[in-house]
């Protein structure tokens, strides 16, 4: 067990012939992920990297290969269409790596996905990895190791940093999920925490948040009322000034809300141990082993 992806995950890559798509498809295959199809409109019938068959549409790809999960690398202006295509074709899980999708597009797309009951991870995220089974994303696979710590994060490299520190101490991960740094995304902290709470392989969880929005506060509420497994957290952006977006479109303190101080207070109130810097996270996790 693990969450979201495993050795049975059959991946279709939307945007497989693009530079990013091709590069990361090779990386995913090298990690052992079952990449069964690629989609690039107009290039159906051809073959992509790793001899993956290419189709014009997601529906054709599913019919021919039994794909059940999509990963999207198409440019921002085409990504909303790609997400909806994957959802309409009946996929259970869609991972969107693309950065820079207009927020009002995501507002409508997310609303549509909610009606269909399809799960989207991202956009603007590093994806999902279950170490040793499947990597559906752009994270460096080799820094991960199989184990019992679930990881959920709004950030990319900060997550790799924490994973690397855990692996260096011999502490493995069950699944690591990057939910992305956009103001509106497909999956929240609470969604992933619920999955980890119900996953027998996960024994404790690391949650990496940042300024902006109130997803962390909602997570704190969920942890306090619904979770039995211990959670260790870190919130980036304690020194960020209000009104400026810190790289991620979602990382902005506006109207005095979304500050790191508020999030840390809410998490501590919920009994979550909050690290002062990323290096402390692995230490705190180790204490619980």
């Amino acid at each position: 067990m693990s969450i979201l992806v495993d050795k049975d995950t059959r991946v279709v890559v939307q945007g497989i012939t693009g530079r990013e798509g091709a590069f990361h498809t090779e990386q995913m295959i090298a990690y052992g992920t079952k990449v069964v199809a690629g989609v690039t409109p107009g290039k159906g019938g051809g073959w992509g990297v790793g001899n993956v068959p290419i189709f014009d549409t997601v529906r054709e790809a599913i019919d021919a290969t039994g794909a059940n999960t999509s990963i999207i690398y198409v440019p921002a202006r085409f990504a909303p269409d790609a997400i909806v295509e994957a959802a309409d074709a009946g996929l259970e899980l869609i991972v969107c790596i693309t950065e820079g999708i207009p927020v009002l597009d995501m507002l409508r797309v997310r609303d549509y996905l909610d009606h269909l009951g399809v799960r989207l991870i991202g956009p603007n995220c590093p994806g999902v990895i279950t170490p040793g089974e499947a990597k559906v994303g752009i994270m460096p696979g080799h820094i991960h190791t199989r184990g019992h710590v679930g990881i959920v994060s709004r950030s990319g490299t900060l997550t790799y940093e924490v994973v690397y520190a855990l692996t260096s101490r011999g502490i493995g991960q069950s699944t690591a999920v990057g939910i992305g740094g956009d103001p509106i995304s497909g999956t929240s902290f609470v969604d992933v925490l619920r999955l980890f709470e119900n996953d027998p392989e996960t024994r404790q969880v690391v949650m990496i948040g940042e300024i902006g929005g109130n997803d962390e506060e909602q997570a704190a509420e969920f942890i306090a009322t619904k979770m039995s497994k211990p959670v260790t957290a870190f919130i980036a952006g304690q020194t960020a000034p209000p009104g400026r977006r810190m790289g991620h479109a979602g990382a902005i303190i506006s109207g005095g809300r979304g500050t790191a101080a508020d999030k840390i207070a809410a998490l501590k109130q919920a009994g979550v141990r909050v690290a002062r810097h990323p290096g402390e996270i692995a230490e705190m996790v180790a204490e619980l082993l």
Partner: protein, 382 residues
């Protein structure tokens, strides 16, 4: 991207929202000409992209063209929160009986566009929200259905509008909502929306913040970007695809990834230092990007030390180290640099840097303490 008041007013006007007669001026003579043309008392308003213009003295009433010229000269000589005033808006003064608030905003938590109205306008709406949240009436709109008329009636009733004002209010709400969606705004705000002596409604101020990610489909709006509102360093960063925000401290930061960049700033503060900037160079850390980032950081004369914090994942640390060394050759840095490399091939990466006499650190706390010690001579224990 934030728009100036006069730019937002022009957009609102296209959607049928009544705005005061007026025009923008870049000199006191132009301001006088506008006032003469209007033939009424005017309000002269500094056009800078910061809040608190009124408190800073950047909004003043003038009763005659001569006074408008004088007031405009004074405002055009001002700097508000570090931004030089280069333009003023000269608007016909309104006959203000009551000030209301009306704004369309993206509510992240609910994933909906919300239209908000308040009977108390002209003040900071965030203060109203904090102190008297019950005074703010909200219409949460559905992405498919949009703004319904009943919602507008609820807003109007909630802020105590007279029945005679409802047709005009309805028109303004619908215009504002359309202006929000059709221009990919994150915020579209009229504060205050004024009730005049004759009962008419007028948008006396206007604010619009646009989604940068959507500007590709609004080239006309993208062209409204005011180059004077961006520092040269911020401009270079934007054009090089780097995310850079200048702050007030002394320790320059170069990091890959937004979350890690924020965490790096935080740990500098934890050890008693102050970050000079936020800078995310993105994945990869190729030498050209590192060089551009280094130039941008060093253009800030307050920087006493540069802290480079890179996680090498798919791009290995030895490749990153070569990129950093190449960039250091191109950019002549007069301040010490501390590099912390972690991830794939980190030992090889650090060895390359150490050979070149670059100060390296293994952990983030160690790097932060080194940088703080170099910048200030002492480290605070957290």
């Amino acid at each position: 991207m934030k728009l100036h008041e006069y730019q937002a007013k022009r957009i609102f006007s296209q959607y049928g929202i009544p705005i005061p007669e007026g025009d923008v001026a870049t000199s006191s003579a132009e301001a006088r000409a506008v006032a003469e043309r209007l033939g009424r008392p005017v309000v002269v308003k500094a056009q800078v992209l910061v809040g608190g213009r009124g408190k800073a003295g950047g909004i003043r009433l003038a009763h005659s063209p001569a006074e408008a010229e004088e007031v405009a000269a004074a405002i055009l000589a001002m700097e508000i929160k570090g931004l030089k005033v280069r333009k003023v808006l000269v608007d016909a003064a309104a006959d203000i009986r009551k000030e209301l608030y009306l704004g369309a905003v993206l509510d992240r938590a609910r994933r909906r566009v919300v239209l908000m109205a308040a009977s108390q306008g002209g003040v900071d709406i965030e203060e109203v929200a904090a102190r008297n949240p019950e005074q703010i009436i909200q219409a949460v709109t559905d992405p498919c259905l949009g703004l319904k008329e009943y919602q507008i009636r609820e807003l109007g009733a909630g802020i105590g509008l007279a029945r005679e004002q409802m047709p005009a209010f309805t028109h303004i709400c619908q215009g504002l909502f359309r202006a929000f969606w059709e221009n990919d705004a994150e915020l579209a705000e009229i504060n205050p929306l004024v009730v005049q002596g004759d009962g008419s409604l007028l948008a006396v101020d206007a604010k619009m913040v646009l989604d940068d990610n959507a500007l590709y489909r609004h080239p006309d709006l993208a062209a409204l970007r005011d180059p004077d509102e961006e520092s040269p360093a911020e401009r270079e960063a934007r054009l090089s695809g780097l995310s850079y925000i200048r702050l007030d401290g002394q320790i320059g930061c170069m990091v890959n990834g937004a979350g890690l960049a924020m965490a790096t700033m935080d740990i500098i503060k934890l050890y008693g230092g102050e970050p000079a900037n936020f800078l995310d160079i993105g994945g990869g850390a190729q030498s050209e990007r590192v060089a551009a980032a280094l130039r941008i950081i060093l253009s800030d004369p307050r920087v006493r030390v540069v802290l480079i914090n890179i996680f090498g994942g798919i791009t290995r640390c030895d490749e990153v180290a070569r990129g950093i060394l190449q960039a250091m050759k191109e950019v002549d840095a007069q301040v010490p640099m501390v590099v912390r490399l972690v991830g794939t091939n980190e030992v090889a990466g650090r060895a390359l840097l150490a050979e070149a006499q670059v100060i390296t650190a293994q952990t983030l706390p160690e790097a932060a303490q080194l940088a703080v010690a170099l910048a200030y001579g002492e480290v605070r224990s957290p």
